[in-house]
Symmetry: C2
DNA sequence: ACGCTATCTAAGCGTCGTACAGATAGTACA
DNA sequence: TGTACTATCTGTACGACGCTTAGATAGCGT
């Protein structure tokens, strides 16, 4: 649950706090050499221990990666929280996308780990989702139904995630230059949904109209 | 470019059309054992050839996976195309999500391959995107600016992708049961964006209203 | 019929995740 | 203080992986 469950800095092991050293080594490798270079042996090497040492702190490689991913969710939540009150809902979305851009390999690891176990981050890790939900509530008004709130939050999350993942796709380069740069594009997409115009409670099924 | 570049059924090799046999074996393994079991050696085993045989048809493992992914994009486009004219834009989105549900490992492989090379599927593979764009144009009206059309299409794609990827997340189970099941949930999210209500040309920054 | 080339096999290299036995260093208690 | 005890780390090994190379084989054009 606690993403830094090895954060007991008081407790020292033979060669120091190896658990923390391992996750830090992993994040270092992730940033420098990318996700495909993140082998357990490489992490152990980077931390200066034998290939078998990590197994005294993590059941297997997946558990190490999960710990790193949890740290990523915490960092994402912090970055989104720091953008609170600056640019409204759009500001949170842009902070989300900025995190993904600045920590691409980590961001992809976070979702890769989630896909492996079919569970969204919860507890500290899922704080970002709740922050966005709160801002969405403020955006669409307290009067909106809880169902609308949930739908709007999820839709906004999808938009942010899509922007984070597909930012570099060639199909978008024309659009981005046409709209005035990367940030303007992100802003435009986030605001395009214009969540909370009050149309969600009675979803229309119009097939075609001008 | 052509996702079935090995589809020359006329040309037979020593043991038949091994290139096709390999991609088919890969898709079989993907469906039965998941993505992490998809090793080159396992594919060769499934196809009944030696571990080195695939290298005469693919430069390396990545090229084999790319070929499988391209077949996936074609299949996705076909499924989306088959839903044309049935349920409007929402129908296309639901077909997209249904494909991801029915071919989960393949769907994730498709995006994993894309992330590795920072390029969206084009040509035959990207047909689905163009189909959705066409339907979005019909939905928002021909009068909308090209910029709005692109933004709306991308936003709708993000929504569909998010639904496909996060469908099983525990955070959503309450919402799904509350809204009346899986399909109703997908429909609600897709329609929530209500793309093309004419607010995109002049994106409002309303902070709160009911 | 004869070479030519494409195709496939066998064997091997370095790396990976992981397991296990033994060494070592802190800790608890006599 | 000395002595078990346990947690931590090393060394070594196993099977599987991606990929390379050398050699066998089969279909092709001439």
């Amino acid at each position: 649950m606690d993403p830094n469950e090895g954060e007991r800095g008081d407790r020292a092991y033979h060669h120091g706090d190896l658990r923390r050293a391992l996750t830090e080594a992993a994040r270092r490798l992730l940033e420098s050499d990318g996700a495909q270079a993140l082998s357990l042996r490489a992490v152990a090497r980077e931390a200066g221990v034998s290939p078998a040492a990590p197994y005294h702190h993590f059941k297997d490689k997946n558990e190490l990666l999960d710990a790193v991913a949890r740290q990523g969710w915490v960092a994402l939540s912090e970055q989104v929280a720091a953008a609170r009150g600056e640019g409204g809902l759009t500001g949170l979305g842009m902070a989300y996308v900025r995190f993904a851009r600045e920590n691409l390999a980590l961001y992809q690891l976070m979702y890769a780990r989630i896909r492996g176990q079919d569970s969204l981050p919860h507890g500290k890790g899922g704080e970002a989702y709740d922050l966005i939900k709160k801002q969405v509530r403020q955006h669409i008004g307290q009067a909106a139904s809880g169902l609308d709130l949930e739908l709007a939050t999820f839709a906004f999350w999808c938009l942010s995630h899509g922007l984070a993942e597909m930012r570099g796709f060639p199909r978008l380069v024309d659009l981005k230059s046409q709209i005035g740069g990367e940030d303007a594009f992100v802003r435009a997409v986030l605001e395009h949904m214009s969540v909370g115009d009050g149309h969600a409670a009675a979803p229309q099924m119009a097939s075609a109209d001008v």
